[in-house]
Symmetry: C2
Subunit: 419 residues, 2 copies
């Protein structure tokens, strides 16, 4: 039996907007599963080795539920372009480079390292349409200690130059990819039709069948911008709303991840809540390419599951502390321009979305709940000046807002210490 | 005679939205003043030592025209609070600590170092109301190589606990401060009534007289939020608009800096354009405390001078690359929630505001114009992955959006190399 006892100021997010603080507490895990958080060391563990991090914060790690791995090299470029021009000039040519396994290896090992160093241990990620590149991505993530889902993208129409498959290729490569990725433990496959405009009905039918037969989850994009919604309506005149295009192929259930949902109205949100679909809020990307601001607090109130995504490289920041801050800012922009009618996301609400809410997709209970897999990080912020002795909550707030390079001193992912 | 010849990919912002690129170019300065940018080394300099930075970018440094130095230790905290509660709980108690010279020395030396390391060489800065602390701030800035203006704050009403002066104290301390700061070269004094609600009419009259007698510039806040505007109207019923409260005391001219101007309407903007007042756009702060989004592009079109400010600690980021990106994002939020009616700030427009537009307040011509004082930095971005060979403009865009710790390899401020 392996035992981990971490001592520090332990913070966890047990509910939307709530913070549980245990100063000088003990976070204990056995065989990688959390036993609990204790204000004093339980007698059963007397004499066991304790990793004492003093006054440092012990936090849940973060989950990034929507990002495009092959867009990582173009981070922070092309942000002035309108969506379609951005796709043609930046996104598609960049993704096309991942037909080269050497390039994929170089970029993906760097991406995986940056995720772990930044405190992100759970992902749902788009790869490109390349089978080999996708396997390399899965390998590099697993090697670095990132857990979660990766999808080989399916795209048999409306692609870019050198970035489109025939329906037959998409089907056969997907099947081969599923076969070849069976040995991964921490990174599992997820079906990934890019979005409705990129996939023919035949391909969607195949993916729906495959999801059912092999009990596979699925991820895609939903209601990101108004032009896209019109295009989808014209492609599927039988569907009253965008989400029904996924539903009719059997890709609309509690293992479905839908990025953006900026323009999802009450009816579409209702359909998400009922099916248990997870909506991924990508504040940076939605602001950068002027898609809009998703009504995140309304979604939460309506019972929709919401998590956060960096959505690189529409989003320009991979770090999930930044993404949490961006979500707060976006909600404040909404409030400002709404004549202060809507409430903004508080720091603790954004933190819950970045941690517990993302982890929920992987079947975890909120916070450091007993039975959860150990995903934790130690953040030492003692090099910063203080205006007054900060409370643990203020320290968390500052961690979300401020760049603190090298402040994450230790990290466990799925029970294993990674640094 | 001292001679500086810097070789690299030289980028400068000669006009709003324009970029001048000289690849493998030479930026030359004599005795700290720029001679010019040359595609080939002029014969006159043949044989002179060249500092060759290869493919690195040579950029103008940035100007931060509005920030509160004594709020630096509280960066990134209290962001969920409404303005008045934030002032009482965070800003005022933090500023009050600067009655302690030791604390001031520790915090201000750190602030000055972070400004220079981040590429900011010009500032217009609020200190606290403490004379001694203000002199320490000026010393530390000058030591680090930051140039510009610092103001001892005047505040004889509506202050915080241990953070208010009598009118007499404010006057005598201001006079003494002006006497004691005569030896500074790079950092000069600027009169700094905190804002209209903080200063009695008697104090404002004194400051107006002083500005005229000693030809001193002035900085303050203007039309940041609607509640403040109402308060000012009730304090000065004789003034039709907020700006007229400054104008009636003689603090409204081409050496005046006004932070925020979020709610300045056409008439107030007209008054700025006519008097040559510089409006400082503080996008982060305005978003964090839900003040609004200033109509920056409209101001520019109307001929108002606009520069950027980090406005720490209402703003949560000191780095001016971040502040430029925040300005772009804020303009996109405005566009999104305006039904795409207003144009967003482009990367090059934001860059102009962060560099040439800020430098204009100090009498400089745009870009690396001959006669300007040498304020330049070398940014090496070769450690980042590339999606394709990036153009100099794309590299600048990435520098604005992405964290590149340690990428600034060399910096000159007012002709002197600082690292």
């Amino acid at each position: 039996m392996s035992l981990t006892i971490i001592k520090g100021t332990i913070l966890s997010a047990p509910a939307f907007g709530k913070l549980e603080v245990t100063e000088n507490g003990f976070l204990i895990a056995e065989n990688g599963k959390i036993t609990g958080v204790f204000p004093v060391l339980p007698e059963a563990y007397a004499g066991a080795p304790v990793e004492d991090f003093g006054d440092a914060l012990v936090l849940q790690t973060m989950a990034d539920l929507h990002l495009h791995a092959p867009q990582y090299p173009m981070l922070g470029t092309g942000m002035d372009r309108p969506l379609l021009e951005w796709l043609d000039t930046y996104a598609f040519p960049t993704e096309a480079r991942f037909s080269d396994p050497g390039y994929a290896r170089e970029i993906y090992s760097r991406l995986a390292g940056e995720l772990i160093a930044g405190g992100t241990t759970r992902v749902c990620m788009f790869s490109s349409l390349h089978r080999e590149g996708t396997l390399i991505l899965m390998e590099e993530l697993e090697k670095a200690g990132v857990t979660g889902y990766v999808g080989k993208v399916n795209m048999d129409r409306n692609g870019g130059k050198n970035l489109q498959e025939t329906t037959e290729e998409s089907i056969s490569e997907t099947l081969r990819w599923l076969e070849e990725c069976q040995d991964f433990r921490q990174i599992r496959p997820i079906l990934t039709p890019r979005f409705i405009p990129s996939c023919t009905n035949g391909l969607m039918e195949f993916l729906g069948r495959l999801a059912k037969e092999r009990e596979l989850p699925a991820q895609s994009h939903l209601s990101e911008n108004t032009g896209e919604i019109q295009l989808v309506a014209s492609l599927h005149p039988d569907c009253r709303q965008y989400w029904e295009c996924y539903a009719k192929y059997g890709l609309w259930n509690d293992r479905t991840i839908m990025a953006h949902c900026v323009w999802s109205d009450e009816r579409e949100r209702q359909a998400m809540a009922e099916a248990g679909v997870t909506a991924v809020h990508c504040a940076d990307s939605n602001q950068n390419i002027c898609s809009g601001v998703a009504p995140v607090r309304v979604m939460m109130q309506e019972g929709v599951k919401v998590a956060l995504g960096s959505d690189i490289a529409g989003g320009d920041r991979l770090n999930m502390f930044d993404v949490a801050a961006a979500s707060i800012r976006a909600s404040k922009a909404r409030r400002i321009l709404d004549n202060l009618q809507t409430d903004f996301l508080t720091v603790l609400e954004a933190w819950y979305l970045a941690t517990s809410s993302g982890a929920a997709y992987f079947g975890e209970k909120p916070g450091f709940a007993p039975g959860n897999s150990l995903h934790a990080m130690v953040l030492a912020d003692d090099s910063l000046p203080q205006p007054h002795p900060l409370t643990p909550q203020e320290r968390l707030e500052r961690a979300i807002y401020l760049r603190q390079p090298s402040a994450i001193r230790a990290l466990w992912s799925d029970g294993v210490r990674r640094f």
